[in-house]
């Protein structure tokens, strides 16, 4: 390839201008004539039988147009539950949530009825008037307790709370543990809270009687899938439903699923023939948007005198919540992600996915990889401690060396392909991070601080993230008669800057700057197929699709121009949006002239028998995941009297393959790392023993704010991926994968004079204070 023209440049994000000027358009900005608003009646009980629902008083309130319960919606639906969204025969169909609960509620916040009124305020007033006769049932909160035979059942009719059990296993685990000189046991509780994008969920359903078409505007990460499920549930065809995601104010995974509210809204709109809007408020997000929440890990490791891993085995118990809208990819990723960038000769993990009376869990940015990385990093720190080895040294001895790439493990991704580390130089990533944080000089800094009664610690965390999940993403590149270049894609922007990246990739082929390309995404009307935004995939999948489409259009532009100019393609070059004859500046044709030529003149033949238009639709189908590596090194100070934790220095080294836009990649890494800091130190979605949520406001559930974010120093290692034509790897989630491992290790190191062991996050000052007190006594 010749020297790139726009790829690799820190191009300002095309998205930002309109957003900063207040010209963004989010779901709640949409207003339609006659629009009504919805409010959902939600269960205050973690578990209860619903004996009777009385909606009379609510219906009578002035301004109320309708109140729908499950019984009211059922006739319009092909089924009362949502379909299980990752089709599988391994899970029972009845694990998916109902559209509206009928005779049993299984978590606080579960929707039971929807009120449609002239305004949200009236709808909320009416929702308070819906009288529901509940018979409270015993609720199960803790997923470990849920496995006991005498535990309350999350659902009355089910025989147990165990949703599914599976194993990840390879190598001779018995042999690995038999004669091994050293063993250690690590028990962990991991907690990752919820998603908490600035914009919550929300949708507006609009029915056009003349076109017989329902349009659902939804703040979603998967417009095409939402359309497909609604077609199925509502018996519609493609012409009868369009799903559009306008500007989306973040998703982090929680919008990568069809929700009951979207279905209820669509039915309400079809029934009332009026536009209906629902905007999730923050309390609803706390109660009813998916979370990632709790995992309990019990691991045993065997290792040799040098600290090399011989075998790793144990158990993982995952809190699934009351329902499974999508699948069990979260615990699955966690179980296959453990070995990460390391060589683990034998591995055996028993995974139990357990239902509880809490809202469903599903991947939130990181999707099980942060938990997997944390588990592994804790294990390695334990090995270092047991052998009195340097923690970086233990890691160097276990990392997959660059010369072993590609490194194929015996593990399988959920799509069935092997977990194969495709490229990278992990030891180099580690070395860069150690250098940047002056690891060598730390012991001296720590000693000097001790003299002043201050406690500094350093921690290292590595993590890989499988990125670019298939099966495909699509992209159309079109040069219209105006000569303007447009990209249409099934990918989903939600704040990452993907439109800018796609514009750069496309612009590259036409020698123009990215702002000459319009990217339209998130609309089922503009492209037939799409998968949406998840798994750090879009630059890989949509990027490659757009790249292929741009190449195809470029080729056609050159062929048409060669025909028109009566010369050979090899004599032409394309730059600045013009086709020129080599060596004759100012010669040739503009893209507009080329586009006009293949638009045809009524009644006349097409020039050169070309098909009309300058357009190509391409899909990119990745064969397997490409793995990005991150190494975080963190220096912290712990105030041992208050348990206060301050991050002094934070270094991120990341291999994201080839960088399309280093500025965007850096932003994603910083954002992901901040997310990881939140997980490590702040974010906690608490439930009491009866599964009542305890932290349902931002006063109790703490997000990281600007004052807690240290300066995060980002370095890149660019090892191009061999698995896609652009050589890119995903980065959206990468920042949060190694964070907790590194931060917790640094805190533990700061407290090494007291011998504190930390096996749980978030690490709050109060908890840390308790650990210090316990260690001191």
């Amino acid at each position: 390839m010749t020297k790139p023209h726009t790829i690799g440049k820190r191009v300002l994000r095309l998205e930002d201008g309109p957003l900063i000027r207040g010209r963004g358009r989010f779901v709640d900005d949409l207003k339609f004539a006659g629009m009504l608003e919805a409010s959902f009646v939600r269960s205050p009980h973690a578990h209860a039988a619903v004996r009777h629902i009385d909606t009379d008083a609510a219906r009578r309130l002035p301004g109320v147009h309708a109140v729908f319960t499950c019984a009211d919606l059922a006739p319009a639906l092909t089924q009362e539950r949502l379909p299980l969204q990752f089709r599988t025969d391994q899970l029972p169909a009845d694990c998916a949530p109902p559209v509206l609960a009928k005779d049993e509620v299984a978590y606080v916040g579960e929707p039971i009825a929807v009120v449609i009124a002239q305004s949200r305020a009236v709808a909320e007033d009416a929702a308070g008037l819906v009288a529901i006769d509940y018979e409270p049932l015993a609720a199960i909160s803790d997923c470990r307790v849920a496995l006991r035979p005498d535990a309350p059942l999350a659902h009355r009719a089910k025989p147990s709370n165990l949703l599914i059990e599976f194993r990840q296993s390879y190598g001779d685990i018995a042999a690995a543990f038999g004669p091994a000189p050293h063993h250690a046991r690590v028990n962990l509780k991991q907690h990752r809270g919820g998603a908490h994008s600035i914009e919550g969920r929300g949708a507006v359903a609009v029915y056009d009687l003349n076109e017989d078409r329902l349009t659902l505007w939804s703040s979603t990460q998967l417009a095409h899938e939402v359309r497909a499920f609604l077609m199925r549930l509502l018996r519609l065809d493609e012409n009868q439903i369009r799903v559009v995601a306008p500007d989306v104010g973040g998703g982090f995974g929680a919008k990568f699923v069809l929700y009951p509210e979207e279905v209820a809204l669509a039915v309400a709109c079809l029934r009332l023939r009026r536009p209906v809007k629902w905007i999730e408020d923050r309390r609803e997000h706390f109660l009813a948007a998916v979370q990632e929440r709790d995992q309990y890990w019990d691991l045993e490791v065997s290792f040799d005198d040098e600290g090399r891993l011989l075998g790793l085995r144990g158990e993982l118990i995952h809190d699934q919540g009351a329902y499974t809208p999508q699948g069990i990819n979260l615990p699955y990723n966690a179980s296959t992600g453990v070995t990460g960038p390391y060589i683990v000769p034998a591995y055996d993990l028993r995974v139990r996915v357990v239902e509880t009376n809490k809202v469903a869990t599903m991947p939130v940015r990181g999707a099980g990889y942060p938990e997997a990385a944390f588990a592994m990093e804790r294990v390695l720190d334990r090995i270092a401690g047991a052998l009195h080895l340097d923690r970086a040294q233990v890691r160097r001895r276990n990392l997959v060396p660059a010369e072993k790439m590609p490194y194929v493990t015996p593990l399988k991704t959920r799509a069935g392909s092997p977990v194969a580390l495709d490229s990278g130089d992990f030891p180099r990533c580690l070395a860069m991070a150690l250098e940047a944080i002056d690891y060598a000089g730390f012991a001296e800094r720590q000693r000097a601080a001790w003299v002043k009664g201050r406690y500094l610690g350093i921690g290292i965390g590595n993590g890989v993230k499988g990125t670019g999940r298939g099966p495909f993403e699509s992209g159309i590149v079109r040069i219209g008669r105006s000569g303007h270049i447009s990209v249409y894609t099934g990918a989903m922007p939600m704040g990452q800057g993907i439109k800018t990246a796609l514009a750069q990739i496309c612009a590259e082929q036409f020698g123009v700057t990215a702002d000459n390309v319009t990217v339209v995404a998130g609309d089922t009307a503009v492209i037939p197929h799409g998968q949406g935004g998840f798994a750090s995939r879009q630059t890989i999948t949509a990027g490659s699709a757009v790249h292929l489409a741009a190449l195809a259009v470029r080729e056609k532009v050159l062929s048409v121009a060669a025909h028109l100019l009566e010369t050979g393609v090899e004599d032409l070059e394309l730059h600045d949006g013009r086709v020129e004859v080599v060596g004759a500046p100012g010669s040739g044709l503009t893209l507009r002239q080329v586009a006009e030529a293949v638009s045809g003149v009524p009644g006349y033949a097409m020039p050169g028998k070309f098909e009309p238009g300058l357009e190509s639709l391409q899909s990119f189908l990745p064969n397997s995941l490409t793995y990005g590596m991150g190494c975080h090194a963190v220096e912290v100070e712990v105030d041992i009297e208050t348990g206060g934790i301050r991050i002094l220095h934070y270094v991120v080294v990341n291999d994201s393959g080839r960088l399309i836009n280093p500025m965007i990649v850096e932003g994603q890494l910083v954002g992901g790392t901040v997310h990881g800091i939140g997980n490590s130190l702040f974010e906690w979605m608490g439930y009491d023993d009866s599964a009542q949520p305890l932290t349902t406001t931002f006063a109790d559930y703490l997000l990281v704010t600007a004052t807690e974010v240290p300066n995060i120093e980002v370095h890149f290692l660019e090892c191009p991926s061999p698995l896609n034509p652009l050589g890119v790897k995903g980065v959206g989630e990468s920042g949060c994968v190694p964070a907790a491992g590194a931060i917790v290790a640094a805190i533990e190191d700061a407290l090494s004079p007291f011998g504190v062991t930390i096996s749980e996050y978030p690490v709050t000052p109060a908890r840390l204070f308790g650990l210090i007190a316990a260690a001191r006594s």
Binding site: G686, T764, P765
Partner: protein, 287 residues
């Protein structure tokens, strides 16, 4: 999270405001900055039938500094306290505490009167009022009265205010220029309500002995506390490391915070000791 229905009134005199409150028989609420009340409405934990907006009562907006001390009108905003250069000498402890109140946007709206009436046990202003023995002037349908801060706070979100009364001003006694003071707070994030905070001051006599020690604790009980036991440790002593260590222990011993979802009582008990210790070190310029 939309507000329940209510009537709204925006009186232009205090008497009108009081009359409006009285006319609704306990079901009306004054509205000041709205930073606590409006969220409570949105969560529907409060649903008064009438909101009486105090924003047009200009007489409640004043900060007066006289030989008798500092008088803050109930509608004085946090921002106005921080912007008033006179207060940095007239009442530096107040300023130090208010710097910990909430965030920029909230400080632009939140008022001292609202904070006093809201009576959050972890709020700074009530803690300062109690520590400094402030007087709270109120007016109701049966006239004006003055309530001592110590008697004003009666529990979490509970005060001696009657339903028809509004706070008009908070009077902080005169602050000698040479007074030593310290304010220390531990919060999870900057601007959050305190996990624990300590406000201390004392005067020094000619022999450098502490006199008139006042120690207040915030966030460790159902209301702000004066810690008399700690004051006894300080009074008539030179404030040095050993006295401070005793004060720290006495502060922890004096409180018995309950466990909550964010921390054990034991943590807050220890934390208030540390805050008192650090505040005293600051006051005595040690360390």
């Amino acid at each position: 999270m939309k507000l329940p229905p209510f009537e709204y009134a925006c009186p232009t005199s205090i008497s009108e405001a009081v009359a409006l409150l009285a006319s609704h028989g306990g079901d009306a609420k004054p509205l000041a900055g709205g930073q606590s009340l409006v969220p409570m409405l949105a969560f529907r934990v409060a649903s008064p039938s009438l909101l009486v907006d105090l924003r047009k009562l200009a007489e409640l907006r004043q900060i007066r500094i006289t030989d008798n001390g500092v008088t803050l009108g109930a509608m004085v905003r946090w921002r106005e306290i921080l912007d008033d250069a006179r207060l940095r000498t007239a009442h530096p402890l107040l300023v130090a505490a208010v710097e910990h109140v909430a965030h920029y946007q909230i400080r632009n709206r939140g008022t001292v009167g609202g904070s006093m009436a809201h009576a959050d046990p972890a709020a700074e202003m009530p803690g300062i009022a109690v520590t400094c023995e402030a007087q709270i002037a109120v007016v109701g349908k049966s006239g004006a009265r003055v309530i001592e801060a110590a008697a004003f706070f009666q529990g979490p979100l509970m005060t001696a205010l009657r339903a028809d009364e509004i706070i008009t001003e908070i009077r902080l006694p005169q602050w000698p220029a040479k007074r030593r003071f310290g304010f220390q707070e531990f919060a999870r994030r900057r601007g959050d309500f305190a996990m624990a905070a300590a406000a201390v001051f004392y005067d020094e006599d000619a022999g450098k002995l502490a006199r008139n020690a006042h120690v207040g604790a915030i966030g460790v009980a159902d209301r702000p506390l004066r810690l008399n036991a700690v004051e006894a440790v300080l009074d008539d002593n030179t404030i040095d490391d050993s006295i401070i260590a005793k004060a720290e222990a006495a502060a922890s011993a004096a409180v018995d915070p309950a466990d909550d979802i964010h921390s054990s009582g034991a943590y807050r008990k220890a934390l208030i000791g540390v805050m008192v210790e650090r505040a005293l070190k600051g006051a005595a310029s040690i360390g």
